[in-house]
Homo-oligomer: 143 residues x 2
Amino acid sequence: MMTAMCAARPADDDATADGSPAAGWSAQINALGDFIRAQRQLANLSLREMASMTSVSNAYLSQVERGLHQPSLKVLHSIADALQLSTEQLLGQAGWVTGTGAATASAESGGTEDAIRKDPRLSPEQRIALLGVYRSFVAGATD
Amino acid sequence: MMTAMCAARPADDDATADGSPAAGWSAQINALGDFIRAQRQLANLSLREMASMTSVSNAYLSQVERGLHQPSLKVLHSIADALQLSTEQLLGQAGWVTGTGAATASAESGGTEDAIRKDPRLSPEQRIALLGVYRSFVAGATD
DNA sequence: CACGTTTGATAAGTATGTCAAGCATGCGGG
DNA sequence: CCCGCATGCTTGACATACTTATCAAACGTG
């Protein structure tokens, strides 16, 4: 197995002529596909094997690996599972998550807000309420 | 403005009896939608405002918030950006960051109390009040 | 060489995400 | 009263993700 099979990449297609899709994600998609393929081959899996593990068709996996499509969360998750990777690694590879630490918002100045937002023990409604209270407090003070 | 007018949720449809690895989507989608809506309202944004920020149509945002659709990565990312959240928080909310290690939650859990205690912008009374609210929330959530 | 098997790639069809336009409702002013 | 302006919700058309069925090449067997 694993012979130099028929690998053909139809040249780097960065067609962003029409403005429909967000420009420039082809690079990330390619990176993601390469990464997935590498991991798959590392695990000595064929497309079909992985397909049966992920319940995603081999054909689509092939297309994803070659950067022809942007897989959805479901598929991404399945793939990560089959390859024994965390979804975060996959997303990170595609550049969709800013990084593991990643605090795009105000992390240092608004530590409390951030903590509330990230707290997994709160339901959405509770979050709203708590943040509302907190903000009213802070707004009332000198700020 | 901001009066909750025509609101209708078409019953909770949780029909996922098959043994697929990704079973139980509707619940997650609903959670995600609720979270997004909560955050949006927190930021005092209307659907249309957010739509213009995210370059996603208001209609679709509405549907996503109500759990009628699963947004793609692009859209998710845009939303996170508009709400000044990291994509990971969104994904975490929906429970998509399973991963093998996946200790996103436990690491942050408990950080909220700490953040509140340390927050220099709160007066002692406010601190007590906020902690009280937070604790009541967490206590009610069957830890 | 015929044969079956395994591999990755392609074709055409189906399901689902996404948008632009229109609907319903509430609010303030003539 | 009606009217315009705000909001959120629904419809129907299109684009994209995804599937099932199939192909051509490489690897065996005898």
